[in-house]
Amino acid sequence: MAEICLGLIFVGLTMYAVLGGADFGAGLWDLTAGGAHGGGRIRGLVQRSMSPVWEANHVWLIFVLVIAWTAFPVVFGAIFTTFLVPLFLVALGIIFRGTAFALRGQAGTIAEARVLGAVFASSSLFLPFFLGTVLGGIAAGEVDAAHPETTLAAWTGPTSIAAGILGVLTCAYIAAVFLAGDARRAEQPDLEAAFRTRSVAIGVLTGAASIAALLVLRSDARDLFDGLTSGAGLAAVVVSVLAGALTLFLLWTWRFTPARWTAAVAVAAVVVGWWLASRPDVLPGYTLDEAAAPDATLTALVVSVGLGLLILVPSLWYLYRLVLRGTLDQSYEPLDQRFRPIDEDRA
């Protein structure tokens, strides 16, 4: 039962890394799109792609939290004590990103859209970074479940920083792949090309950064490194590398729809690999059975969430099917174009 609950947490983390990550990454491309008029085309695409799905994608994070605090309450309490500072910053980032994004859809002038866009996009950068530092700190064994303490060192070690950077890059990568496909659906060939180039470049960069991160793990989190370089952990790493390479090939040959899936697999395999490599511990040196809530709780949780998933999975499938078929798409317009008549009136 404890294993199933941990599995659910990792399913949630994987979904959040892929789907939530794509939304963070879209924010990053929004950030780097350029000036108000030059970047308007990319921003319009980001706005259109994220609007119907970002809230549902965000709920995966809540899903992870509620299962964590029910099934592994002591670990949850210890993690939130240890990483109080970065998690508080993540919480603030969540407010800024979500609100600014929702408000930008209603902005009335280009100036408003620029301010809101800047808030949305910059929080999309630091949010995955800080989340990454927390995950890195957990992987590096910085959490003492018996006597947790809030420290700075817990999330500023080499593994944390590496995980933070890798988190940001991964988000940018998955977003670029998704947006290339979305651009094709919006019939914007120039944006297709732009995101194809971006996704290939950032894909290579993310691959290189992953290798560098492995070297960091080797010196800073040896157990995890060993787990990732042997047995099931190694298999996951290999899957990730192959899926990543296949994605590059598919992007190179303009096949964005299958690339969407292989890119997702490449990212998912990293998260799953972490799980496989750290088994049977929940925190380094703290085993699943020590950490898990009593069986009555785990059974109740698995049964109820399991039944919930029976409704949830078809619902999610319905949402993404509508999105990918373009049923929910609004007509595409560059973000700055909405305001041109107003600007011209003023001029």
């Binding site: 549902a56 299962i67 309450p73 210890a78 004590t81 993540v90 408000l103 009555a296 949402l319 509508l322």
Partner: protein
């Protein structure tokens, strides 16, 4: 009977699973949590009630084909989506704060009450999925399918309230676990979830959601009404929202009575604080207004109605009502705050119920809307007032539970984080919430400034 309940107050308490740690910033932690709740709870009301109102207007459109119904339903659905976005982020903050501020509460009791949140996660998911499909589905999905996609949003509004309030009910009336050597053992998550305190809290909050949303929305259209906006679109907005609120407000008085009697039974000290009853009294009076003096144990300058409290709490004029003095001074909540909050809620609730009755009566007997300009002026302030009553109600139940986080089992100071420096976090968070509130108001005004016709033009 009395001896028994005193005994009950000294049942075994627990130490936190994370050990006995210092609690340097318990007050700041409470402030942060309270601020976050106050930011989130108005959104919750809209999550509960607004989808039903939208579907009602949407249903009118499907039946009549009148375009102003469609314009209104579509406009409201955009507002609902925006508020949902804000609710997503403020709700996420709450779940982060559970861990950041109360790690020992989560570590000790997560296994007991967590199930409710597991279910709430599923419900929240469905809400997020279907609100997106519904709002972006206008003019894109088949008419019938589109209407049906709104229904899960309404159901999730109820299911979400059920789950979260189950936890609050449990904190006030903890069940479903045993204590051995100061440790929580043998959790029974289902019996914790379905605790006896939950039902009245749930129904009270659910109906409050309709009252708050109804009066706030009606207040917006009443403002327009006073400025001469009387089109079919505005009229529908006013009548639908106000009808929901007007029907809910009087019902809330009956539910409030039920809630009061349950509190009298489960948490007598909270009831005594709500009423400022220092000593256990047979045939206790109800005191209206005034100020509770801790030293004399009397309510000064209050208006006393003999035996009324016994009637309200037990439906028996000679019933014995337990006083604050049945627990040691350390275990008492701040009487005046609880009492003031409670009376604020009851006062405003009564006023809103009257307002509702006037509206329903005029509509039913005279087949028209009230004509008095004062009715509309009161309506404009009724929304903010309803919000004040809602928050006052939550202050009553939450501050009334103090000093416990889990009633009579775990103290707030044993649950709070051992970290220092929460002042900074509190200031930052408060500033962010102010910014957020300003931004939301700004956005809704911008939406309201757009003409309704643009919702129905083909694009």
């Amino acid at each position: 009977m009395l001896a028994l309940s005193v005994l009950a107050a000294v049942t075994e308490q627990v130490t936190g699973a994370l050990g006995d740690t210092p609690a340097p910033d318990a007050i700041e932690a409470r402030r942060m949590q309270a601020t976050s709740f106050i930011a989130h709870i108005p959104i919750v009301c809209f999550g509960i009630a607004f989808p039903a109102m939208i579907l009602f207007v949407h249903g009118l459109y499907l039946r009549t084909g009148e375009s102003h119904y469609k314009a209104l339903a579509k406009r409201w659905s955009k507002v609902a989506l925006t508020l949902f976005a804000v609710g997503v982020v403020t709700g996420t903050i709450l779940s982060f704060e559970f861990g950041l501020l109360w790690p020992d509460f989560m570590a000790t009791f997560g296994e007991v009450f967590g199930l409710a949140f597991g279910l709430e996660g599923v419900s929240f998911f469905l809400e997020a999925i279907f609100i997106a499909i519904y709002v972006y589905g206008w003019d894109r999905l088949p008419r019938r399918t589109h209407f049906l996609t709104g229904i899960p949003v309404v159901l999730a509004g109820f299911a979400g309230s059920f789950c979260v309030i189950a936890v609050n009910g449990w904190m006030n009336h903890p069940r479903g676990f045993s204590i051995a050597d100061g440790r929580v053992v043998d959790p029974k998550p289902w019996s914790a979830l379905l605790n006896s305190n939950m039902w009245h809290e749930l129904i009270h909050m659910y109906v409050a959601g309709y009252i708050v949303t109804g009066f706030i929305v009606a207040g917006v259209y009443a403002t327009g009404w006073l400025r001469g906006k009387r089109s079919a679109y505005h009229r529908t907005g006013l009548v639908v929202a106000l009808s929901f609120a007007a029907l809910a407000a009087p019902v809330q008085i009956i539910i409030g009575d039920w809630a009061g009697r349950t509190v009298a039974e489960n948490q007598p000290v909270k009831l005594a604080s709500m009423e400022g009853l220092a000593q256990t009294t047979k045939g206790a009076p109800f005191t209206f207004l005034g100020w509770f003096d801790k030293d004399t144990g009397e309510v000064e300058y209050g208006i006393e109605i003999p035996k009324m409290l016994s009637v309200l709490a037990f439906h028996d004029p000679n019933a014995t009502v337990q006083g604050i003095d049945t627990v040691p001074a350390d275990d008492r909540p701040p009487t005046n705050l609880v009492r003031f909050a409670f009376q604020t809620m009851v006062g405003i609730g009564t006023l809103l119920a009257l307002l509702g009755v006037v509206f329903v009566f005029t509509l039913w007997r005279k087949r028209r809307l009230p004509r008095s300009v004062w009715f509309y002026r009161v309506l404009v302030v009724s929304g903010p007032l309803a919000l004040v009553a809602l928050i006052a109600g939550w202050v009553t139940t939450e501050v009334g539970r103090q000093p416990w986080i889990v009633y009579e089992v775990m103290r707030v100071k044993d649950a709070v984080t051992s970290s220092d420096g929460l002042e900074l976090g509190f200031i930052a968070l408060a500033a962010v919430y102010l910014l957020l509130a300003a931004a939301v108001v700004w956005l809704l005004r911008r939406l309201a400034a757009q003409s309704p016709e643009q919702e129905v033009v083909p694009h």
